[in-house]
């Protein structure tokens, strides 16, 4: 890759002190794209904005990676009734901690992007769903939204354009499942976060039975940039089939963990060994989870040439997910790590569907048995069988998200598990 990451200037979260302040944001070209659209609605019809985003190639940053403009185009024609955006800032997938950087350092880029999206889909209200644990960041977003109201960017007949919309923050209260879009809508409606059966899809029947689009925070924060540099230029950034700047949240056994911004498609080995300063203690990489705990782990000895974009990762046998990358060194006990991941999904299963409610429990129980040295080789087959009984058999993807790490950690690191079921740990104690 000829790209020089050392000289890269961040676009989503540019290095401008005080950018979270609306005045600083406006001094640096903030809300200009939004005003451009509102001020020339003949050129920038809602359809034209949607098409621009569609042709930029922007794909959702929340995990599923669907083309954003295409998603917007699924909204039915306005019928005079309310229509909603639910902006997904639930950010709860283990390994994922990127959106809070936007809340803290460039909240108005998100607000501007959400407002442009609201215009493009004739949205009457935007609900910003933020996980309850992010109370510090919820305060920041409430302040930023209040400032945007005061500046006349949100409200009735915005800047005399005839366009009106509202924006509110809704705090979660501790439930991973609410990052699933239909569960998020249930939560916004004041209910337990049980995912809904689809169809109907949110664009047909979403919040309060009305057309709704759910977009990730980082996804919407890309929108002003697309309008500023144009879809064509945006589509040239990073990986061709998954373009744009990307927030990489890198954690685990690296010397310099944290959130980095680079174009999509960064080679995993460059991220680990150069950007993050290598593995702590100069150790080897045993495993990398590329995009949050549900994405299948890759072996450390099979990372050569694998890049952080959906195509490259699919070929390598994983997914980009949220680009929340967890690096594990050669001394990591993967049986222990997988047991902890299984505990997470068991804890977070909403309990609505039997394969998930029971399956996540059995995965955890069986892995705990192996971890304490009481497992047998048959337990490994049992775990894979439980995965098969879970995958694709539930209302939402939590069961799949729970099964994939189990399936792929066992199949890709089989030797670690076989060693544990043959030689009980307590025999050495």
């Amino acid at each position: 890759m000829s790209f020089d990451w050392k000289t890269y200037q961040p676009l989503l979260i540019p290095n401008i002190p005080g950018l979270a302040d609306i005045k600083v944001y406006e001094q640096h070209g903030g809300y200009v794209q939004y005003k451009k659209v509102l001020g020339d609605q003949t050129t920038w019809t809602p359809e034209a904005v949607t098409n621009e985003v569609k042709s930029s190639g922007l794909r959702g940053r929340g995990g599923a990676g669907f083309n954003t403009g295409l998603k917007w185009s699924f909204m039915p024609k306005p019928d005079g009734g309310p229509r909603y955006i639910a902006a997904n800032g639930d950010e709860s997938e283990p390994g994922t901690f990127k959106d809070r950087t936007i809340f803290e350092f460039n909240p108005h880029s998100f607000i501007e992007g959400a407002l442009i999206a609201a215009y493009a889909m004739r949205i009457t209200a935007v609900y910003v769903y933020i996980r309850g644990e992010y109370r510090s960041w919820i305060r920041m977003m409430e302040k930023a939204i209040a400032d945007a109201y005061a500046a006349g960017h949100i409200g009735k007949n915005i800047h005399g354009s005839g366009f009106s919309t509202d924006m509110y923050v809704h705090s979660g209260a501790g439930a991973y499942i609410c990052g699933e879009e239909s569960s998020l809508m249930e939560s916004l409606e004041g209910k337990r976060g049980y995912p809904r059966v689809k169809p109907p899809f949110p664009a047909q029947r979403g919040l309060w039975g009305r057309p709704t689009t759910i977009n990730n925070i980082e996804t919407l924060a890309n929108v002003p940039l697309i309008l500023r540099i144009g879809a064509e230029a945006y589509s040239q950034i990073g990986a061709k089939t998954h373009p744009g700047p990307l927030l990489y949240g890198i954690s685990g056994h690296v010397n310099k963990p944290g959130v980095y911004e680079f174009p999509s498609g960064m080679p995993i080995e460059t991220l680990i060994h150069e950007v993050c300063g290598g593995v702590k203690g100069g150790k080897k990489v045993k495993a990398v989870i590329p995009g949050g705990s549900s994405t299948p782990p890759l072996r450390g000895d099979q990372l050569a040439g694998v890049c952080m974009d959906s195509d490259s990762l699919r070929t390598a046998g994983s997914m980009l997910g949220t680009a929340g990358m967890v690096v594990m060194d050669e001394d990591t006990d993967l049986v222990d790590v997988l047991t902890r991941i299984a505990h997470f999904y068991h804890h977070e299963s909403c309990g609505q569907c039997t394969p998930c409610r029971e399956g996540t429990g059995w995965l955890e129980k069986t892995l705990k048995k192996i971890r304490r040295g009481d497992g047998t080789p048959r337990d490994l087959e049992l775990l894979l069988d439980i995965c098969t009984q879970m995958e694709g058999r539930t209302i939402c993807a939590l069961a799949d998200a729970a099964a994939w790490p189990v399936r792929y950690t066992i199949t890709r690191f089989r030797e670690d598990f076989e060693a544990r079921v043959k030689t009980p740990v307590h025999a050495h104690a």
Binding site: S92, T101, S171, G324, V337
Partner: protein, 178 residues
């Protein structure tokens, strides 16, 4: 049975919350938060108050309160120390930090000190994976990059009536060029 009431100011806040949504039911979560901030927990009596104030069945409010882990369904310590032990914190010593707190305070995860000052909980991913191990204090401030020494300082600060400062952390790109 304890009796709880909302003040006139809180009732006005609740009206403002209701105005953000097309249905009263949607106010359930924000009003539970408001109640928890006011009373320190949302036990059955507080849930009843929320239900009565919103004109919703108590069973609905109870269902919501029990679905979400951050609502305290019973009284907790004054300071609730939520230590993340999930994935990235797990492999970065999250359990060591949890055990250090348990030893220091003489209680186990899930318990409250006899003086009612501290509750320790082992919690799922809090979204601070790059700053592991970490914990959150009483649903509010995040304390990152924990060490036993840092934990001791936090306990001392809280005992003196203080609170750890919010730790701003930006993009690593920007930190390095700053």
């Amino acid at each position: 049975m304890a009796t709880y009431v909302f003040t006139a100011e809180q009732l006005a806040q609740i009206e403002a919350i209701k105005s953000r949504y097309p249905s009263v039911q949607s106010a359930t979560m924000p009003v539970l938060w408001l109640a928890q901030d006011a009373f320190g927990h949302v036990d059955a009596d507080v849930q009843q108050l929320v239900a009565d104030t919103l004109g919703l069945p108590a069973s609905h409010v109870h269902g919501v309160a029990t679905f979400y882990t951050q609502y305290y369904k019973e009284k907790k310590g004054k300071h609730v120390l939520d230590v993340c032990t999930c994935l990235s914190c797990h492999i970065s010593g999250g359990y060591d930090m949890l055990h250090h707190l348990e030893n220091r305070l003489g209680i186990k995860a899930g318990e409250t000190t006899p003086d009612g000052l501290f509750t320790i909980q082992s919690v799922e991913c809090l979204g601070a994976c790059g700053y592991a191990p970490m914990m959150q204090i009483t649903n509010d401030v995040f304390v990152n990059e924990l060490t036993p020494e840092k934990l001791d300082q936090v306990i001392d600060t809280l005992k003196k009536g203080g609170s750890p400062d919010f730790e701003p952390i930006g993009l690593v790109n920007n930190r390095e060029t700053a």
